[in-house]
């Protein structure tokens, strides 16, 4: 009965008014929900690169303050090669460096390159804190970063963040997980 009453005999102006009211109410509810979030969305929008920059700054600053403890070869040159599938496959196989997965952790759990460590771009600061000891022993250790595929920018952003922290050999596998799985190469999963 109520349903019929609401939906019958309506005018177009009534519909338009209803739509406007719905939009206004949605806007208000959206703001209230954002206020309740642990990390509300700021205004204006901060892009991925800027957000990563903000989370890397304290890490880089902390590392510089303890730089004396970590010996850095003065001649260490910055190497930022892109790896082809074949090169990346070799990198993984030989274990000559550390493989880093820049995708969100859920995707890492579902499948990642063998021995890869999770370092998601979105939660870089938290994930890096867990890997810090392992990685900062040697800042010249070769690192290879990948994300979903050729169109994702996360591996490149993580590469820049790692360089800012002081790592000298950070390469990107641009083909990413799409190319790796398309080639039917081995993968590891987390329970």
């Amino acid at each position: 009965m109520t349903v019929q009453k609401f939906s019958s005999g309506l005018t177009w102006s009534g519909d338009l008014l209803f739509i406007c009211a719905l939009i206004i109410v949605s806007g208000a509810v959206g703001r209230v929900i954002n206020g309740w979030r642990a990390q509300p969305l700021p205004s204006p929008y901060v892009n991925k690169s800027e957000r990563l920059e903000q989370s890397v700054q304290p890490i880089a600053a902390a590392r510089i303050s303890t730089a004396e403890a970590v010996e850095m070869p003065a001649s260490a040159a910055v190497v930022t090669d892109d790896l082809s599938l074949k090169e990346f496959q070799e990198f993984v196989k030989t274990g000559r460096g550390v493989v880093l997965d820049a995708r969100p952790e859920i995707f890492y759990r579902l499948g990642h390159a063998p021995s890869a460590l999770s370092l998601p771009r979105e939660t870089f600061d938290k994930a890096y804190a867990g890997l810090r000891r392992k990685l900062e022993n040697d800042l010249t250790v070769p690192l290879a970063v990948y994300c979903s595929g050729a169109t994702c920018e996360d591996s490149e952003l993580v590469q820049k963040a790692l360089q800012k922290i002081g790592f000298t050999h950070v390469a990107v596998f641009r083909g990413g997980w799409t190319e790796w799985t398309a080639a039917h190469l081995p993968e590891e999963r987390l329970p």
Partner: protein
């Protein structure tokens, strides 16, 4: 066409629209940051508008989905669903034409991919057709 068939089609269309909008809104509301990133990737609106849209649109989609499922204000909701679907389709089409690597962000976080955008565009066209059908049926039958 048989009135019963038309009525049945309207109900199915409305339930489909309501489910898709409600589900899409709920996923985006849970984590609005990836959705804001998706909006940014379309390079269509100024940065000051991105987060308000990322916060408000999911709530609007949830309300719209619920109203469509409940059958309240059917014509207004169908018109709004059609308008939103057309806006999404236009955004996706311009991204395809400009060769932008966008993630539609329709159902929360995801990675941009070459095949997902045309698929999302086709889905939006389908949703527009369903919404127009519901709006027309409600208007003609005044139900």
């Amino acid at each position: 066409m048989n009135e019963r068939v038309l009525k049945g089609t309207e109900v199915i269309s409305r339930v489909c629209l309501g489910t898709v909008f409600g589900y899409a809104g709920a996923l985006k509301l849970r984590d609005p940051q990836p959705f804001a990133d998706s909006i940014h990737s379309f390079a269509l609106i100024p940065n000051t508008w991105i987060n308000p849209v990322a916060l408000d649109l999911p709530v609007l989609e949830i309300f719209l989905g619920l109203l469509l499922l409940l059958g309240l204000r059917k014509r207004a909701c169908a018109c709004l669903a059609a308008t939103l679907s057309i806006i999404f389709a236009v955004a996706l089409a311009q991204a395809l034409m400009r060769g932008l690597p966008v993630d539609c962000g329709c159902f929360g976080a995801g990675a941009a991919s070459a095949w997902k955008t045309p698929l999302a565009l086709a889905r939006d066209i389908g949703l527009t057709a369903l919404a127009i059908f519901v709006a027309r049926h409600v208007t003609e039958r005044n139900v």
